[in-house]
């Protein structure tokens, strides 16, 4: 663990990425707290006299109820076509976008480890004529043959619109890579001395798998999960662009951006603020993922 940290610290870009992610986490938590629990910034307040105000404009003094004034009396990131505070919506959206990424990746990682692990550990067992391994791997091949984005689009469009459906569908269509390399790792680990020794000691299989094998196979999963969060956020924004994203009243960065594209000339901040936020956050996830890969790859360790 300490070695991993040392490897990460050497790479400046990774450290910048980590810092961005830390800020994002704070923003997401702050968003949850201040827009839902202690309502300081209400993303749902409509203030028609104050629509399309550019960032940093002071709120109109008359025509607004005291309760719907923004804090500090200013819109730090401007307002949208209904006079809603963009800062409040972005904060709320950061939590929603991040949870879509994490839950979708969580589903895909759990599925991937489960199927890959079963296939790698119990692969030789047979059900009837075919072995479990070939059964699971053929199923993985089947899933890999679907055009992913088209499949996600089909399912999301046919199901009733809900934020949970989007998370689940993205998760269910992205576990194949994880399953494949967990299986490969398990195959290699099964022959290693420490696993053979654990078996010879008579440890229960559950313990061998979860205490000895999974921690050793987790490194590539961690890398692909980090990058997976990034691509889930991008997929959500692409779905929003096509109109199948998270529906109101939830704000996500994807649907703020998709709504903002209609006002690109009149209110460019509605387009550029969410666009660059997504860019920075997804970039941070990708850089951290890549940094992890380099730090975890023993062959590259000596070279740097």
């Amino acid at each position: 663990m300490r070695e991993l940290w040392k490897g990460l610290k050497r790479d400046k870009l990774t450290m910048i990425g980590l810092m961005v992610l830390l800020l994002l986490l704070i923003a997401a938590l702050a968003g949850k707290v201040f827009t839902e629990w202690i309502v300081v910034l209400d993303p749902a307040v409509v203030r028609l006299p104050d629509k399309f105000k550019p960032p940093m404009t002071a709120a109109a003094v008359d025509g607004l109820a005291a309760a719907s004034r923004p804090p500090l009396g200013r819109y730090l990131l401007g307002t949208d076509e209904l006079g809603r505070d963009v800062l409040a919506r972005m904060l709320q959206g950061s939590f929603v976008s991040l949870s879509i990424g994490f839950i979708a990746v969580g589903i895909s990682v759990v599925l991937g480890i489960a199927l890959g692990g079963i296939s790698g550990f119990y692969g030789d067992l047979k059900i009837g004529l075919v072995s479990i391994d070939s059964l699971i791997m053929r199923f993985t091949d089947v899933m890999l043959c679907f055009p992913t984005f088209f499949l996600i689009l089909t399912v999301v469009a046919l199901l009733p619109p809900s934020i949970y459906n989007i998370m689940i569908v993205i998760g269910l269509t992205s576990w194949m890579g994880t399953a494949r390399f967990v299986r490969a790792e398990f195959f290699a680990l099964k022959e290693q001395d420490f696993v053979v020794a654990a078996k010879a000691l008579g440890l229960p299989e559950r313990r061998i798998i979860f205490r000895h094998m999974v921690p050793n196979a987790i490194a590539p999963v961690l890398v692909s999960a980090t990058i997976g969060v990034a691509s889930a956020i991008l997929t959500e924004s692409a779905l929003s662009f096509l109109g199948f994203g998270v529906q109101p009243p939830y704000a996500t960065w994807g649907n703020i951006l998709a709504d903002g594209k209609g006002f690109i000339f009149d209110a460019p901040w509605l387009f550029f603020i969410p666009g660059f936020s997504i860019l920075v956050v997804v970039l941070a996830f990708n850089l951290v993922g890549e940094g992890l890969r380099e730090a975890l790859n023993p062959r590259l360790r000596g070279l740097r």
Binding site: C145, P147, F150, V155, L158, F241, L242, G254, V282
Partner: protein, 320 residues
């Protein structure tokens, strides 16, 4: 070789069968019926709906519907729910529109990412390497439609050319040369935009592949023998680094359908991706299912092609 070919062909046909069954059940079990697309239309009487449902076999059990779909697909009589046009010619027309976009994008991807990746690997750790790394991560991280909108604003503002659609409306009677220029302008920006993600990914892959090969023993041996540096890089290293990319020719095939929905939507390009999107909106099951089926068939054909190509270029691989 022949034995390998038949064996994997049979395997793939079996996979295709399973895929088509799964796709069929997913689409038909999901809520939302083609006959419910326009429920507020007062002219749709219950008996009309019943007639439509009967005409499209929507009241039959699922496995019968599957059989009907397969029968119609292979006899070429499959009709769209939306406009009762035959599905296959409809897809073929859209395919001809998507093809130039796909070819152009592929050409851009391959011609840009190889030089970029190779030079980054040769100058590992240099400013050039680090900046291309950073730029490619940035390009992967931008939502495609965000970048495309910025690009459209910039191109239309600077060069004053139209980029939406396949051609400018009203140019039909212009001189041939003008018409072709118009077509080319309309083609360049969408294909560049759909190529950007591919360039970023492929150039990273070329770089890591090249780094891998440069560290090999035979490259060191070649250097030790006194072979010139150019000969070492381009004669010994590059040829071996290129091997895995041969397989990519096969794996690119399915990109024809899946990868283009967003960009065809942005640029109003009447291609396959957009056909799929419109079909999904209209609950046009035959079109959705057939597109999915073709995409899966292309993927399977692509993996088979890449296996065969790999065994042709790499004598160490023997197919059994």
């Amino acid at each position: 070789m022949i034995a390998f070919f038949t064996k994997s062909l049979v395997q793939r046909l079996f996979l295709l069968l399973i895929i088509s069954i799964i796709a069929h059940s997913v689409v038909h079990l999901a809520p939302g019926e083609p006959s419910e697309v326009d429920p507020s239309n007062p002219r749709m009487k219950p008996e009309d709906i019943a007639r439509i449902r009967a005409a499209f076999h929507l009241d039959d059990p699922l496995h019968l519907q599957y059989v009907y779909w397969m029968r119609d697909l292979f006899s070429g009589e499959l009709k769209s729910f939306k406009d009762s046009q035959p599905v296959l010619p409809k897809i073929w027309r859209r395919f001809l529109n998507s093809l130039p976009l796909f070819l152009c994008a592929t050409l851009i991807i391959w011609s840009l990412s190889f030089p970029t990746g190779i030079f980054a690997a040769l100058r590992r750790g240099s400013l050039y390497d680090r900046s291309t790394t950073f730029v490619s991560y940035t390009l992967i991280s931008i939502p495609g439609f965000f970048l495309s909108y910025l690009m459209i604003l910039w191109v239309v503002g600077t060069f004053n050319v139209p980029v939406i659609g396949m051609r400018t409306f009203g140019m039909e009677n212009a001189e041939t040369a003008y018409r072709w220029m118009d077509r080319v302008w309309h083609l360049v920006i969408p294909s560049l935009m759909s190529a950007i993600g591919g360039i970023a990914i492929l150039s990273r892959y070329v770089r890591s592949q090249m780094l891998e090969v440069i560290g090999q023993d035979y490259v060191r041996t070649a250097r030790a023998k006194g072979v010139s540096e150019d000969e070492v890089i381009y004669g010994h290293a590059l040829r071996n680094a290129l091997l895995p990319f041969v397989t990519m020719f096969g794996l690119m095939l399915p990109g024809l359908i899946g990868g283009s929905v967003i960009f065809e939507q942005i640029f109003a390009w009447p291609g396959l991706g957009r056909l799929g999107y419109e079909a999904i909106l209209a609950r046009d099951f035959p079109v959705i299912l057939t597109l999915n089926f073709i995409a899966a068939a292309l993927t399977l054909a692509g993996t088979l092609l890449s296996d065969i190509l790999y065994s042709v270029v790499d004598p160490r691989i023997r197919l059994k």
